[in-house]
Symmetry: C2
Subunit: 347 residues, 2 copies
């Protein structure tokens, strides 16, 4: 077993495996980089088929948080945690208190929060044992509206850069997924005059946006080949792949889903086809930006910071053009340059 | 890669992988069990051929410390750490400071100390960054005389049980290895009237004990088949193996080396042959007992605690006879019962 040499290890500062016999806790906490501040990233509860899968997942997500937090201009490093188990079956208050004690033992180098399989109640149990939890009830609250705002502004930046338009009036957007974020995004887009084409498994959610925002409903598989300006993936990851790229008529991909590109090389394919891609972790940073204001919460400051996503993305688009590389590469370079600059001031 | 499912994982509470790009630190800290108190165990620096080897080593050693500290009656849990690197080439003050910061980030759940490849100076560098270091200069000091005292008393207990003698007068002991502990052990044995047969690679060390304690020198390979009462392994591990057991004329194995049995089943072979084995981690606990008194150091208290090794071993020998199992099994049972009793009072 190689560990430090794993492809995904990528110089993680600290990776900790925790168990608690009494509560059945099995958890991995990955702290990728704390140059900019304590590592912040959610906890995912998942019934991984193997430790291997759990390790790969937590390492990739943790590294991703370093990049996301850096480009969002936050004084936070990157980290992530996973609890191995079935979120429908294995949850107990004692399990999350035990997880809280584990997090606490790291002394504030890592702050956890909700992610897949974890809800606010779980976080509250963990918070009984440690202050190092973010996304608590009654603090910064639901991050979805902020993620939606950032995504909306990201779409505006992409339309500005790709189509030369300051307004979304008449712009056609295909939205894949109507969760909390998708709904709020539709609202912003509708108010800005855009035409909406939507899909989801949830018929109620579809009916709601059809009625409120005059959205046109299409089948799940039909969303890719709609005659639109913007394709906005807001649900699953890896929807930009060899199968879907050939179907796309949109000249912009800009949505709030995580890990939109199936493989890094798909970013090059998009560039070669002249499709502008808004890097996922840049455009969907509104939620983590809002969480960063959790202590001493101020919605106005949070909103102002989220609004910077517009400028950040415009700069990334311009850089990508002038360097003739894919936009995700520019975002990664930006993250590394911010971290390196901070390191330079320390040494 | 399975991790939680590794045979050696054995319910470790916490295993942490640390790196520091700047200093090149690669370290693993294993905390096996903190039921009895903070985990205490040394740090080993070794040029492991693979991460796999390092992980196996640190997990086994860490679990061993839980058992050792429990049977020694200490309010300390079990842990261990490794630094991956060449102790002759890769040491820098910055590396050990970085290691110190890593240990510090665990918040006192683990205390480190010297082990193979690490010296007091290294520990002092680490100590600049954390109070969680044991075995510092000017505190409890060199643990070797205490390990030697415990081993000497362990030999007395074995002679009492196996040969029915309270005195070592005329008892023949073959000592393999004349390091710090071996030398002090020879001194005790000589003063008690034992006859010494010794071997080592170091000619100076041999000459010294020959002169001071009238020891007879034999070749490295000849130590096993000496006509003695006691074989005292005080150097390498795994010297009790299929090759050596057939050569032994001694009816007692009692020395200070770690991991004396090549495999657990060799303990059964010894029992079947009527050879009494003093479990290594019980008889060699004098050093860690002395370290446990490091804060507010008192040599008298430390000595009294080391002296309990005599009674502990006598009890283990009797239990092994009455249960008809090997002595190492009884020691392990004793460790677990101490930990379980403590857990019961907590719940």
């Amino acid at each position: 077993m190689a560990f430090f040499e794993l492809a995904d290890f990528d110089n993680h500062e600290q990776v900790t495996f925790f168990t608690d016999e009494q509560t059945g806790l099995k958890s991995i906490v990955a702290i990728h980089d704390t140059t900019l501040g304590p590592a912040v990233g959610g906890c995912r509860m998942w019934n991984y088929a193997s430790d291997d899968e759990a390790i790969t997942d937590v390492l990739r997500l943790s590294r991703g948080m370093t990049y996301k937090n850096a480009v969002a201009g936050l004084a936070m490093g990157g980290g992530k945690s996973v609890i191995i188990g079935d979120a429908r079956r294995d949850k107990t208050p004692a399990l999350f208190r035990s997880f809280g004690r584990a997090i606490h033992s790291l002394g504030g180098r890592y702050y956890s929060a909700e992610d897949v399989g974890i809800n606010t109640q779980d976080i509250m149990y963990a918070h009984e044992e440690t202050p190092y939890m973010a996304g608590l009830e009654g603090k910064s609250g639901d991050p979805s509206p902020f993620t939606a705002l950032g995504t909306f502004l990201g779409i505006k930046a992409a339309v500005k850069h790709q189509l030369g338009k300051d307004s979304l009036q008449g712009i056609r957007v295909a939205i894949q997924g109507l969760g909390h974020v998708g709904y709020h995004l539709c609202k912003h887009l509708h108010q800005a005059g855009a035409t909406l084409i939507v899909t989801d498994l949830n018929q109620q959610a579809l009916a709601k946006v059809a009625e409120e925002f005059n959205a046109v409903i299409v089948d799940l598989d039909a969303i890719y080949h709609q005659d639109v300006d913007v394709y906005a993936p807001c649900a699953l990851g890896a929807t930009v792949n060899d199968q879907t790229i050939t179907q796309l008529k949109a000249s912009i991909i800009a949505g709030c889903a995580n890990n939109q590109l199936a493989l890094p090389r798909h970013g090059d394919v998009l560039r070669d086809k002249g499709i502008l891609y808004a890097p996922d972790y840049v455009i969907n940073a509104g939620g983590i930006i809002n969480v960063s204001f959790e202590n001493d919460y101020c919605a106005k400051k949070s909103t102002e910071k989220v609004e910077q996503i517009y400028t950040t993305l415009l700069n990334i688009f311009k850089q990508a053009d002038s360097q003739n590389v894919q936009t995700a590469t520019v975002a990664d370079q930006l993250a590394r340059s911010i971290i390196d600059a901070k390191k330079a001031t320390r040494e």
